[in-house]
Amino acid sequence: MGNGRFFGGVHPSYNKGLSDSREVVEMPVPEKLVVFFAQNLGAPSQPVVKKGDEVKKGQVIAESGGFVSTPIHAPTSGKIDSIGVHPSPVGVDAPAAVIIPDGKDEWCEGCGVERSSEGLDAEKIKEIIHDNGVVGMGGATFPTHVKLSPPAGKKMDILIINGAECEPYLTADHRLMVEHAEGILDGAALFAAVIGVGSVIVAIEKNKPDAIEVMREAVAGREGFSVEAMEVIYPQGAEKQLIYAITKRKVPAGGLPMDVGVLVQNVGTALAACNAVRFNRPLIERVVTVTGSGIKEPKNVLARVGTRFEDLVKFCGGLEGDAAKCINGGPMMGVAQYSLDAAVTKGTSGLVILRQEEVAQFVSDACIRCARCLDACPMRLNPSALSIFTEKMRFEDASEYNVMDCIECGCCAYVCPSRRPMVHHFRRAKAEVRKLQRKAG
């Protein structure tokens, strides 16, 4: 083992100092919650409540829409005010339930009750994790029980708990590790038990020395657990790059981590799984880093799912100066918001608000073939050629040049002196290639 170094990557200014020493504060339940029904990658959940229903905190309001899906729970007790479409943080209008809290914040029966995890078998643990709506909280929101269910014959031997948090500005995972090390490790132990691995590695970038220290102390008494301090380079937290950096194993192009015997789970996911199994607490809240120069008081906020960004901003003292851009997630991969009307989902790791002078609107120029993007791409693609293919609508060529392996990390566009919107190009190309594949297949 030992620290490998993946190819490419960039060093953006991390700006984590705004919030990395601020303890997580719990935000009071706001006057209104907008809870989206599609909060996981895969099939959207199916609503089971209607307008006017009274719900309790933790009650299922939408059921799984298939195997790759999870239920959604009411984040607090109250009344379903309406069910309709609302602006979602990914930029489209999506179906959601509006809940008006009753202020009592009452758990539904059986929820929030401590239970012993002794004697639970793997299937039962997976079931509990699914029933409590746990998804990957690093941002991808892939249902966790699916990741814990490898097809027969896939043997895994390493579990990596991802605390790299390589996105600039974000400090939610950092604070979780400092404040909830035991819970995270308990969750990790549950994962390890389910898939039967003996080696658990907590990966943390070196710019979080306090988290590394706390985690090192916490793993001391646990057999098979270790902490790996990682080089600070974006995208260190990207699954394939992280696996390579720690184990030197290369996930095959188009493959999954399980193909090389590794399972990666985010620290927040591990904590959510621990809460689900130990306390029967559904995933109804998460830590959101509200930060950037455009917010008065940067904070790490424990917010209920469904908290509108506007309320979140208010809780952090409001906008500061000429706030000009609001990003759901980190600035490298996050989605810019039109307004503060969208709401926190299970995947909202941060809300980064930038001021006018940090928000340059570029006119993109022709590619000058400087090859900086080839040096930066951690997937070893040729972004220069791919972006030209996309402009010329040559999607077969883009496919031949492996556009489908693009992880949309943004390194290419970050270094492009012609300011070409590369990631945008590749999202388009990927969608077109998928269309072509559907036609062919």
């Binding site: 960039v10 996050g334 810019a336 073939r369 945008h424």
Partner: protein, 356 residues
């Protein structure tokens, strides 16, 4: 809408309960695709860095060739910029003089001209460089051939007398301004007339060649300053070492082999690498982004190819110097090189496994 609501405080004050909610239309933000950060590098910055790297050699050329060199540089940069602006205006494209690429082309072409160049020669060269080789193809980023080299080669073929027969050795180091042949020409001519090469290549000559005390184009004389510029560009990560090292290395290795076989007909490899336009070409012309490969392996192949063609022309071609032709020929091969040196995607499944 927001203003309308706030413009009527009366009704809102009367019925405070339901209305204000709607009035709170959130602020609107800038929306763009991720990433939302940038490292700040611009095309203009890159061009400026190349200009800075080239500056010592250019200033030194003024020192050794006198004000004539300054005249060539100024006319060349000015005409490049004027041609760029005019052609963009005529083609109704945005005028992009600020990116500095036209100025760089002008300076590079000037570095490829003798100090005796008449003004019209410089202007004609820049016309071909900017209008024909660059703007007609679509401007920066779309030109298949290095614009400055196209300008130089057009002049070399059309006006050989002006381009090659009127060298002036500098007067700074004691010699008078007289017409003299370049070292490479001396080598070629002696080989033709005497049947063997007749060049002095002692410590004194090596020193003169390195600092630039010899006949030649403005920019090809001072090897030391060109090399310093190259190191600066590599340090600033503007260019990679791959093309210059392979280019110069290939020339050195290939001429070295011939020198070992037959020293009477083939000059010392060190003589070959510190004469002519090799350093200027390898560091500043072959590394032109637009016309050279983007892949790492491709850069190595491109550099080596430039070196081999240069040697072929120097040893057996009609011209004493082959750097310009070599780079232009390899420019033509760039798309193919890029295609056949596609980087292997991270986690690429090797072909044996895929077949199984």
């Amino acid at each position: 809408m927001e203003e309308n609501m706030e413009g009527k405080p009366g009704p809102a004050a009367e019925k405070p309960a339901p209305k204000p909610k709607k009035a709170e239309v959130g602020p609107r933000f800038v929306v763009s695709s991720s990433p939302h950060m940038h490292d700040g590098r611009t095309v203009a910055q890159i061009m400026r860095l190349v200009l800075i790297a080239l500056a010592p050699a250019a200033l030194f050329s003024i020192y050794i060739f006198g004000l004539d060199a300054l005249r060539v540089i100024l006319i060349s940069i000015a005409s490049a910029k004027i041609f760029e602006a005019i052609s963009q205006k005529v083609m109704k494209r945005p005028i992009t003089l600020r990116d500095g690429s036209a100025a760089l082309t002008g300076l590079l072409l000037a570095m490829n001209l003798p100090s005796t160049s008449p003004w019209w020669l410089i202007v004609v060269g820049n016309f071909f460089a900017i209008v024909i080789a660059k703007q007609l193809y679509g401007g920066l980023g779309y030109n298949p051939f290095n614009p400055a080299l196209v300008g130089r080669v057009v002049l070399l073929i059309s006006f050989p007398v002006h381009m090659t027969a009127r060298w002036v050795t500098n007067s700074r180091f004691g010699t008078d301004a007289v017409t003299a042949a370049t070292p490479l020409t001396q080598m070629k001519e002696s080989l033709a007339t005497l049947g063997h090469i007749d060049i002095a290549f002692g410590r004194e000559q090596i020193f003169d060649l390195l600092i630039g005390n010899r006949a030649g184009c403005l920019g090809e004389t001072s090897i030391v300053l060109l090399a310093l510029g190259g190191i600066f560009l590599i340090w600033k990560r503007v260019i990679s070492y791959r093309i210059p090292v392979m280019f110069i290395g290939a020339v050195w290795a290939m001429t070295g082999i011939f020198h070992l076989i037959d020293p009477a007909h083939y000059a010392d490899p060190s003589f070959h690498i510190i004469t002519g336009g090799l350093f200027l070409g390898a560091i500043f012309m072959a590394t032109d982004y637009v016309t050279s490969p983007v892949t790492r392996k491709g850069m190595l192949i491109f550099g080596a190819g430039c070196g081999v063609i240069t040697v072929l022309i120097r040893l057996w071609g009609a011209y004493p110097e082959g750097v310009s032709f070599a780079i232009l020929l390899m420019n033509a091969a760039t798309p193919l090189i890029d295609r056949y040196t596609k980087p292997k995607v991270f986690g690429a499944v090797d072909s044996k496994k895929a077949a199984a």
